[in-house]
């Protein structure tokens, strides 16, 4: 009797602790502060990929992993997974030449135009004809084709930025939400596939803020870095709107007339009766950067060979064009804070008295700001085979505005990871909300390392703090977030001087600890939902034992 009642008492106690211990204080605010103050400091020069500052950050991270006796999971029994990279930066003497019948006009880099994915391989010795090709989009699912009956081989296409947009017909493309077709990179790929030599992107009728030239100049001033497998010879140009009239000087329509046609949805293709030459001067280099990777093996006989990856990118933009005299882009919220959170998680999971059933891999990614290079390299060269990796949890960017009462699971709708999170949230009185529709473009699932994993078939998720706060109204929180993206994001002001609530960072870390702890211990393997676009890849990995 006594035995049994004692047993049930312990059982109740156990159940109770497993439920509520999930989201109890574990993380240490002082540790988080210490990591963040180092990673976000000017000493690290903004942690640009391929810079000494990033090496310092890598050493700092690996020192801690070593101190906590986590197993190295990089190359040759070290914490570092070395990644070959190619860097290229256009020099100011690079020019575009416009060849009119009787005169030549030279455009200057930065003031007049910017280069997209264009490097030392781009070479146009003879001037080439320009042809207007609408938005430069071929989208069969919307029955839309700007290249219909248009031969652009060996020509340079001039295309409008963005995508077709109807005020009255929001069903066309995605209405107010941008599709991938609107991206410069999509337009360039389409142009390449049609045989074009170059693509010039110009402002469209509806854009106001998106074409803020001063911001664009800064955005494109950083070194272009790619993996060795991503070099193209295509000329990609973003034109300063001041030069639009000039570009259409000899064309059948002026730029203003063209814009009028765009508003009326009567765009047509035509020759600009103008040739363009390009004389690029670049510095370029090869170097190696590194992901920092560690693992703690699980203890369960049947589950220790399955893995959960927790990741955060530790790179940022580095040194760039000074704004108000500050040239260091510290990237404190993007993503020194995520790195600090991941370090603290590594410390918590490495404790001697902690044992999980599954194994956990900690990956600190480099090259995120250059196009998710570190995470796509990792998924190509994973520590544990992809088909044994059951899920990936990414940390990229916090708000740290106060005690959040809701969360937004980016990617939660694609897989069982979302449901598991909802259960945890419900147990802890947290609301789960969807991302506000006007923010979809800013914080899309495609914009950080989790998408590399999803693309490789691994269910992945990024948890954001929601907009319900103890001390802020929802509209205040939304407004703060909007302002941050407008004024701080990717500027030198994302530094340690901005207000940070360390209790909020600790609370977020505790939540993530509870969530990952659950993933590491449940028997269930999170599955892709039926509608998830990444599903087929999962089955492919399984079949090929990748």
């Amino acid at each position: 009797m006594l035995k049994i009642s004692l047993f049930s008492f312990i059982l109740i106690l156990l159940l109770h602790t497993t439920l509520w211990a999930q989201f109890q204080p574990q993380a240490n605010s002082d540790s988080l502060k210490k990591y963040l103050n180092f990673l976000g400091s000017d000493k690290l020069q903004g942690r640009g990929t391929g810079s000494p500052g990033l090496q310092k950050a890598a050493a700092f991270i690996s020192d801690h992993l070593h101190r906590w006796q986590l197993k190295p999971a990089g190359d040759n029994n070290t914490y570092f997974q070395h990644i070959p990279m190619h860097g290229s930066l256009p020099l100011p003497q690079s020019t575009l030449e416009l060849h009119f019948e009787k005169e030549r006009i030279y455009l200057n880099l930065s003031d007049d135009f910017l280069l997209i994915k264009t490097g030392v391989q781009t070479f146009i010795p003879k001037p080439v004809s320009l042809v207007f090709a609408g938005y430069g989009i071929v989208a069969p699912e919307y029955d839309y084709n700007d290249y219909l009956d248009l031969d652009v081989s060996n020509k340079i296409v001039v295309v409008l930025d963005g995508e077709p947009w109807y005020e009255d017909n929001k069903g066309f493309f995605k209405g107010n939400d941008q599709t991938l077709y609107a991206l410069a990179e999509s337009k360039i790929r389409t142009a390449i596939s049609r045989g074009a030599i170059g693509t010039v992107i110009i402002k469209n009728a509806t854009e106001q803020t998106a074409f803020n030239w001063q911001k664009k100049k800064i955005e494109y001033s950083f070194e272009d870095v790619s993996l060795p497998a991503q070099v193209t010879s295509h000329l990609g140009v973003l034109l300063n709107p001041d030069k639009n009239e000039l570009l259409f000087k000899n064309a059948p329509f002026s730029y203003q007339q063209l814009i009028q046609k765009e508003k009326e949805h009567k765009l047509v293709n035509f020759d600009l009766n103008l040739k363009m030459g390009f004389n690029g001067v670049f510095t370029h280099r090869q170097f190696k950067s590194q992901n920092v990777v560690a693992v703690k093996m699980g203890m369960d006989d049947s589950l220790h060979d399955s893995y959960v990856v927790i990741g955060a990118h530790y790179d940022h933009l580095g040194i760039g064009i000074p704004v108000n005299g500050d040239s260091i882009y510290n990237g404190v919220m993007d993503n020194a804070v995520g790195t600090a959170v991941l370090l603290e998680l590594a410390r918590l999971f490495s404790r001697n008295n902690y044992a999980a059933r599954r194994s956990v891999v900690f990956v600190f990614f480099c090259g995120e700001e250059k196009g998710l290079l570190g995470s796509s390299y990792y998924t190509d060269h994973p520590y544990a085979p992809l088909y044994k990796t059951i899920g990936m949890v990414n940390v990229d960017g916090l708000s740290a505005m106060g005690k959040f009462l809701s969360i937004i699971p980016l990617g939660g709708n694609y897989s069982g990871l979302g449901r598991i999170l909802e259960e945890l949230a419900a147990e802890n009185g947290l609301k789960v909300e969807q991302i506000p529709s006007n923010m979809v473009a800013d914080e899309s699932f495609n914009r950080s390392d989790q998408v590399s994993f999803a693309q490789s078939g691994i269910p992945s998720i990024l948890l954001l703090e929601g907009f319900l706060y103890e001390t802020l109204s929802r509209s205040q929180a939304l407004e703060k977030n909007r302002k941050w993206f407008e004024n701080i994001y990717h500027t030198p002001f994302d530094d340690l001087k901005q207000p940070l609530d360390y209790n909020a960072i600790r609370r977020y870390t505790d939540l993530l600890y509870a969530y990952c702890n659950r993933l590491l211990n449940i028997s269930e393997t999170p599955q892709w939902n039926e509608n998830a676009p990444f599903r087929y890849k999962f089955f492919q990995n399984k079949a090929e034992k990748r």
Binding site: P84, N154, L183, E185, A229, Q230, Q455
Partner: protein, 274 residues
């Protein structure tokens, strides 16, 4: 977070191609293309097959254009290229595979000007080379005290080096009509060692038997390529249609890795990742 979404991610809906051929339990990886890369590829293959006896690498030259054609036809797994894919080739590939290809930087090269060691010329400018190969100057007397009808030795139109030289040195002009066309880089150097009036070009690694002339006063050396002073520095590439399957990827990773890059150096090209 990043502002722009990744280049590689877009339209990557094509399923990974399975181009491997299993014969007697051996994986066969086919490489075809650039003649400049032939000796490099052969040595890489020898070393790789020694440590991976289950893999057989088949190397074929014929020029960069031939390599791209074979890649598009599905007749090779990797195209070797001494230039990037041109717009027509990219278009063909996109039509057939919905992919614009992946290029891998494999090595650096100082595209060298070959002269007969007996030639009095000790340096040439980019302008000189333009005049010589386009046929605007046809006698060595312009540069030296000794007359002699200049014999420009070029590669066939399928060669990436032919095109690279035509674009970068001749600025798109045609080669002199009396140029001698040689099928391989080896044949170019052989002709030049026999004829003191001949001048040609090709990969640095092939130039041991001839004089590799400085261009604009700069010798074609690895150092001068690295510090960007040699004017005819270029990359050598591998191309695949899409993300290759595991065996091909493993080979390419190995080539880009320390072991492969050591061989790049031994052969005379410039390792990119030491």
């Amino acid at each position: 977070m990043i502002r722009i979404v990744l280049f590689w991610m877009l339209f990557s809906l094509t399923v990974v191609s399975c181009t491997q051929h299993i014969a007697s339990n051996k994986t066969i990886i086919r490489l075809k293309g650039s003649d400049t890369m032939l000796i490099l590829a052969q040595q890489l293959a020898d070393a790789y097959m020694t440590i991976n006896p289950e893999v057989s690498l088949q190397i074929e030259d014929g020029g960069t254009a031939t390599g791209f054609t074979a890649l598009i036809q599905g007749e090779t797994d990797i195209a070797m290229a001494s230039r990037l894919i041109n717009p027509q080739e990219a278009q063909q590939m996109a039509k057939k595979y919905k992919s614009i290809g992946l290029s891998y930087l494999v090595a650096g090269d100082a595209l060298s000007i070959y002269l007969n060691p007996a030639n009095q010329i000790k340096t040439l400018t980019m302008g000189d080379l333009d005049l010589i190969f386009s046929g605007q100057i046809d006698d060595w007397l312009v540069f030296t005290d000794f007359p002699g009808k200049i014999v420009p030795v070029i590669r066939p139109v399928t060669s990436g080096t032919f095109l690279y030289f035509k674009q970068h040195v001749l600025k798109g002009k045609d080669y002199a009509s009396y140029s001698r066309e040689m099928p391989t880089t080896r044949a170019v150097t052989q002709l030049i060692t026999r004829d003191k009036n001949a001048i040609g070009y090709g990969g640095f690694a092939y130039g041991d038997s001839v004089f590799r002339a400085p261009v604009n006063g700069v010798f074609p050396t690895p150092q001068n390529v690295r510090n960007d002073t040699y004017p005819l520095a270029r990359y050598l590439y591998f191309y695949t249609i899409d993300v290759p399957d595991q065996q091909v990827r493993r080979f390419i990773d190995w080539v880009i890795g320390p072991a492969g890059q050591r061989i790049v150096k031994q052969v005379g090209y410039i390792p990119l990742w030491d």
